[in-house]
């Protein structure tokens, strides 16, 4: 029995005598890059301050490339684990959060970190549950759907559309749905003294935000413990205690439950000792090199992104992109505080909600009588939506790399995939809003900045994913039982 891993051979690239540019995939990839570069130069010529928006675009491109390179599917982290027992992606994510947290700690020490901790409460687990359930059916999380759309998967485009509108609708939904909000939320929301035009007592999500979430506290662990030394707080507490130690525990658990048996049997070890297990963990971590490399790259770039945005904010003397937009005369999409959604780090779902809201507003609906859009995030035109461009950057970056690796292929979804994409996207949208972010905003960005609430989200997401996998398997066996042949 050979222990050598299988070979990977690429039969699609035939360089030929006439060179790189003769192949149309390479030309398309170069064209996309040229378009982004030209667009960036054009924007800078209009006003150099657009550099703030372009940072999002270029980091988006980098994220897209790494995601495609490692086939970094966060949905499969949960799904492959429960459905087929493969910990590849779960390990990849742990690598990425560890790296991100180390870079974020450095950024924090240097004083340019724009991270805001999330309020800690039950809503994070519940939102994670709904979100985790949804991603099993869409076959990709919010980020995964973006890079898969870049690979030409039209089903993923539907997921993005569904998640955009479900969030926008969920946030403004009121009337009959308000009955699901406890009376205490209404009282508490009234106490906040919000401006009339937001009508905070109408709309479930407003009541939830003002009456529940605002009463919760959230902070990084270092802030909770009251540690003021920046190096101890950032590296030892926020990075080591909140991110790296839990990640190591998870990796060890993954090894113990999913990898150990196979490893011991494959290596023909009679009496495994600690050394064998450490070697086994290493073999698990490196079992997919692409995933590990993507994890390192994503972690490092996500940290750098926080840094670069922090420096730019410092340079222009702003706290939020909205101030800059107002200064440039683009006031239409701003909230009543002259702000727009501008996290300053990797984030996915809120800008998608803004896309949905912008379309609905253009069709004549009132999308501003709520806290989410009206007070905080605004409804900017997608052409000047900075985080929105990060999402577009992810799609384009993934498309470039997929073209270069000959993995770009237009895939038309089947009817079943369409239904799953729309329903799953709807659930993901609701889950992301209840938990105040997706697996990027509510998990990846929070834990790596020392905010333990992200682990709660992961817990919810994994539990939701587990239920989702069980239901998905039931559905598949039902379909198999109806057909004669082996049609999974």
């Amino acid at each position: 029995m050979s222990k050598e891993p299988g070979v990977y051979v690429d039969l699609t690239v035939d360089e030929g005598p006439s060179g790189w540019f003769t192949q149309k995939e390479n030309r398309y990839a170069a064209a996309i890059m040229a378009l982004v570069a030209l667009g960036s130069v054009w924007a800078l010529l209009q006003d150099t301050r657009w550099v703030y928006l372009l940072v999002y675009v270029w980091f988006g491109l980098a994220y897209g490339m790494f995601l495609q390179y490692g086939r970094f599917c966060m949905a499969s982290a949960v799904r492959d684990l429960f459905a087929v027992g493969v910990p590849r992606m779960a390990v990849g994510i742990m690598i990425a959060v560890c790296l991100y947290s180390l870079v974020a700690a450095t950024v924090q020490v240097s004083g340019f970190n724009a991270f805001h901790p999330h309020p800690l409460g039950w809503h994070i687990i519940i939102g994670g549950l709904i979100f985790g359930f949804g991603i099993i059916f869409t076959g990709g999380c919010a980020t995964g759907s973006l890079y898969k759309a870049g690979e030409g998967n039209l089903g993923s485009v539907l997921v993005i559309i569904s998640i955009s509108f479900s969030q926008a609708i969920f946030v403004v939904l009121g009337g009959w749905f308000d009955k699901f909000a406890p009376a205490s939320w209404t009282t508490s929301a009234l106490d906040k003294g919000m401006p009339e035009e937001l009508s905070v007592t109408q709309g479930w999500f407003d009541l939830f935000t003002a009456g529940y979430v605002w009463d919760l506290k959230g902070s990084t662990l270092a802030a909770m413990l009251g540690v003021s030394n920046p190096i101890v707080a950032s590296y030892l507490i926020n990075s080591l205690l909140v991110t790296i130690l839990p990640a190591i525990v998870i990796v060890v658990l993954l090894y113990a439950f999913y990898y150990r048996k196979g490893h011991v049997r494959r290596e023909k070890i009679e009496q495994p000792v600690l050394k064998d297990h450490i070697r086994g963990i290493w073999s698990m971590v490196t079992s997919s090199k692409n995933t590990a490399i993507a994890g390192i790259g994503l972690g490092a770039f996500a940290g750098l992104h926080v840094w670069v945005t922090g420096i730019l904010r410092d340079h222009y003397g702003i706290f939020n992109f909205g101030e800059m937009l107002a200064d440039m005369g683009h006031k239409a999409g701003l909230s009543i505080q002259d702000t727009v959604f501008d996290p300053g780090y990797w984030y996915i779902t809120t800008q998608e909600a803004q896309w949905g809201a912008w379309v609905m507003e253009t069709m004549g609906m009132d999308m501003r009588d709520n806290i989410f859009f009206g007070l905080d995030n605004g409804v900017p035109n997608p052409l000047i939506n900075a985080p929105g461009f990060m999402s577009i950057g992810i799609i384009l970056g993934a498309a470039v790399l997929a073209l270069l690796r000959r993995e770009f292929k237009i895939k038309v979804p089947s009817m079943e995939t369409v239904v799953f994409a729309l329903v799953g996207g709807l659930l993901m949208g609701i889950g992301a809003r209840v938990a105040m972010g997706c697996n990027i905003g509510a998990y990846f960005a929070t834990v790596s900045n020392g905010d333990p609430s992200g682990w709660l989200f992961l817990l919810g997401m994994v539990a939701g994913g587990y239920v989702g996998v069980k239901l998905f398997n039931l559905w598949i066996s039902w379909r198999v039982s109806r057909s004669d042949d082996f049609a999974l």
Binding site: S2, P5, V7, Y8, S76, V84, K411
Partner: protein, 110 residues
């Protein structure tokens, strides 16, 4: 109404199904070894986690030494299969990237 039902059925039936072929054929692997493929599954168009589930189910039915050929155009699957083969005590022999997707060869051991 009947038309709607027929249309729905037609569309629904357009789902990408996995076809399994038990016809034997020989394949030359990149290292020069010629192997006899005993089971073949065409998962073109199917997305995660179906190809993985098919692989699991087929390896389960196979005898030791049998060779599975999995055809897929889902990149995430391709990345996962070598790790899956490890978990299932099988050998991942080769992954060939072709114009239409990938062909992955796995040998079942014990």
């Amino acid at each position: 109404m009947k038309l709607l039902v027929t249309l729905w059925r037609k569309w629904f039936k357009r789902s990408h199904e996995v076809t399994v072929n038990k016809g034997l054929h020989q394949v030359e692997l990149p290292d020069g070894e010629i192997v006899q493929v005993t089971h073949s599954a065409d998962c073109i168009g199917a997305s995660c986690p179906r190809p993985q589930l098919v692989t699991m189910q087929m390896l389960d039915e196979m005898e030791s030494g049998d060779i599975l050929e999995l055809v897929s155009d889902n990149s995430t699957t391709v990345e996962t299969i070598p790790a899956l083969a490890m978990v299932l005590y099988s050998d991942h022999l080769a992954t060939l990237h072709t114009k239409t997707g990938w062909r992955i060869y796995i040998r079942k051991s014990d």
